[in-house]
């Protein structure tokens, strides 16, 4: 038999050995597992080489079958063990909480998390039995608090990371991330988690808010793409190349977007969502580059872009039409000016 194959089969047999040692030989699943191993060994003897064995074993589904025996035999072992009637001690139960706390790394130093676990470990010493320990944990809401404090800390870190993303120093007021919907997500979820009464309630809230936030992000991304990037992309190209092709694309895009949404250059930048994005992400992300071009603020950048746009179109001051300044937000027709408000509240 090929040496590599021998090692492979030995590893499968060794993996199941614990179960074989603990279960009777005539257990139906043990017999089936031994039969499969014997078939694999027989195939290995007959195979001309490693790859021939692998090909045929794969076609016979041997690998999937052998893996499922780990759970099947584990289940047999579980069924064979007598159910204990011994009353567990507080320490028996608390073992899991000690391991969970020790594996938290830096989060162990969070005062709120540490306070909850300290109380759990204090109770472990105070009580005289496992049932009393569980009752006291439940009556003091410690089961819920352990999950809650941990999740709140994770959410708080998420919000801090988002708000500080891209900031060169703590004194800077503008980061590179403009994501009102994500700020809304982190603040809402923290509030709702604090109010939740059970672990499941907390989990469902976490999933629901995550989905809500995912859809708001996707919506916002499409909104910014059509209202703003449609114009900005050709305009940035024109600013760099000055080519006739880019000039015409800028003109066409600007006129189409203005007509479609009933707005003009100033309306666009007066939109609070677009301005927030422009200031934080467009200017904020490339601030050093713009500084080297003697542009010191988002307002100056807006003026610079406007000057380039003026070379592309005959009339920047298109007529505003409030009736056209609408978007669909989750089935509601809302005004363009209210986009930021909805992203922060829905």
């Amino acid at each position: 038999m090929d040496a590599g194959l021998k090692d492979l089969l030995n590893s499968y047999r060794a993996g199941l050995k614990t179960y074989f040692d603990s279960l009777p030989n005539d257990n139906a699943e043990v017999m089936k597992a031994n039969k499969l191993l014997a078939e694999m060994e027989s195939l290995a003897q007959r195979s001309s080489d490693y790859s021939a064995f692998m090909e045929e074993a794969q076609s016979k589904n041997y690998f999937s079958e052998i893996i499922t025996f780990h759970s099947k035999l584990g289940n047999e072992l579980y069924k064979s063990k007598p159910k204990s009637t011994k009353i567990p001690s507080a320490s028996d139960i608390a073992k899991g909480y000690h391991s969970a706390f020790e594996s938290m790394g830096e989060l162990k130093n969070d005062p709120e998390i540490s306070a909850v676990y300290s109380r759990v470990f204090q109770l472990e010493k105070e009580v005289s039995s496992g049932p009393e320990f569980i009752y006291r944990m439940e009556s003091e809401n410690l089961f819920l608090q352990m999950s809650k404090k941990h999740l709140i800390r994770v959410m708080r870190d998420g919000l801090d990371n988002l708000l500080n993303s891209g900031k060169p120093s703590v004194n800077e007021k503008i980061g590179i991330v403009s994501s009102p919907q994500m700020e809304h997500y982190f603040t809402t979820i923290q509030k709702k988690i604090i109010e939740s009464k059970t672990v499941i309630e907390m989990e469902i809230i976490a999933f629901e808010e995550a989905e809500n936030s995912r859809f708001s992000n996707l919506w916002d991304s499409t909104f910014l793409f059509v209202t703003f990037h449609s114009i900005l992309s050709p305009l940035v190209s024109y600013r760099m190349t000055g080519s006739e092709e880019d000039r015409l694309d800028t003109k066409h895009a600007y006129e189409f977007v203005c007509d479609f949404y009933g707005l003009n250059w100033d309306d666009l930048f007066e939109n609070s969502r677009i301005w927030d994005y422009f200031e934080k992400t467009v200017f904020g992300a490339a601030k050093d580059t713009f500084l080297s071009q003697n542009i010191h603020s988002a307002k100056e950048l807006k003026t610079d872009f406007r000057n380039h746009l003026a070379k592309c179109v005959e009339n920047i001051e298109m007529n505003s039409d409030r009736n056209k300044q609408k978007v669909n937000f989750r089935g509601k027709e809302i005004e363009l000016k209210d986009v930021l408000k909805f992203l922060k509240s829905e």
Partner: protein
């Protein structure tokens, strides 16, 4: 010994009281805890209680009820967002939880991979509809007609890709979850964009 019974009963009562604060979310757990409480209250001591519980001495019925309530809520949650594939994942988990008879069975029958193929379809549908919304607008913003036409052809190709994973998809789908949740266009705007698309391609959608 008797103290332990009292503590355990007090624990069960406290759990039931908290679970009852949200009847809809916790219905299965309330029923499971009440059953265990009834056995605990009718047992003379802790040993008798465990003996009466029998196979359920490890309180698997409580763990299972928690899983059932959890997965039932997840099905409703994803149905609300129109994420049918994700809801299906949790329907399967719900079925497995309902029929499992031990912790081991629950762990064995709930492989993590259960979600992957279905969730992938769900993600593809969302991504594909994002591409369509972008293209639908882009076909209007280029100066050259041949570029606009190329974008329109790309739209058609991406539209067919989405139809291959969601055969019911149409322009109307932009107003039904989950597509509605990422669509920034009003009905009249979609009508106008669709008209421009059809005019470029010379065919109806």
């Amino acid at each position: 010994m008797e103290n332990n019974s009292e503590f355990h009963i007090a624990y069960l009562k406290s759990r039931i009281s908290k679970l009852k604060e949200n009847l809809e979310l916790n219905s299965e757990q309330i029923s499971a805890y009440q059953k265990v409480l009834s056995i605990a209250e009718n047992s003379r001591n802790y040993e008798e209680y465990l003996q009466t519980l029998g196979e359920d001495a490890d309180l698997f019925s409580l763990a299972r009820s928690e899983q059932i309530d959890r997965y039932r809520s997840m099905v409703s949650l994803y149905e609300k967002f129109g994420l049918e594939e994700n809801a299906e994942v949790f329907r399967k988990k719900l079925t497995i939880s309902t029929t499992s008879k031990s912790y081991m069975e629950l762990a064995t029958n709930l492989p993590q991979t259960i979600a992957l193929p279905l969730e992938k379809i769900s993600t593809e549908k969302i991504n594909q509809s994002m591409i369509l919304l972008h293209l639908l607008f882009q076909i209007n913003t280029y100066a050259k007609r041949d570029l606009r036409f190329a974008k329109a052809l790309q739209f058609k190709s991406e539209f067919l890709k989405l139809k291959s994973i969601d055969s019911s998809f149409s322009f109307e789908s932009f107003f039904i979850n989950p597509y509605l949740l990422i669509n920034p266009f009003t009905r009249s705007q979609i009508v106008s964009l669709k008209k421009n698309l059809e005019s470029l391609l010379g065919e109806s959608f």
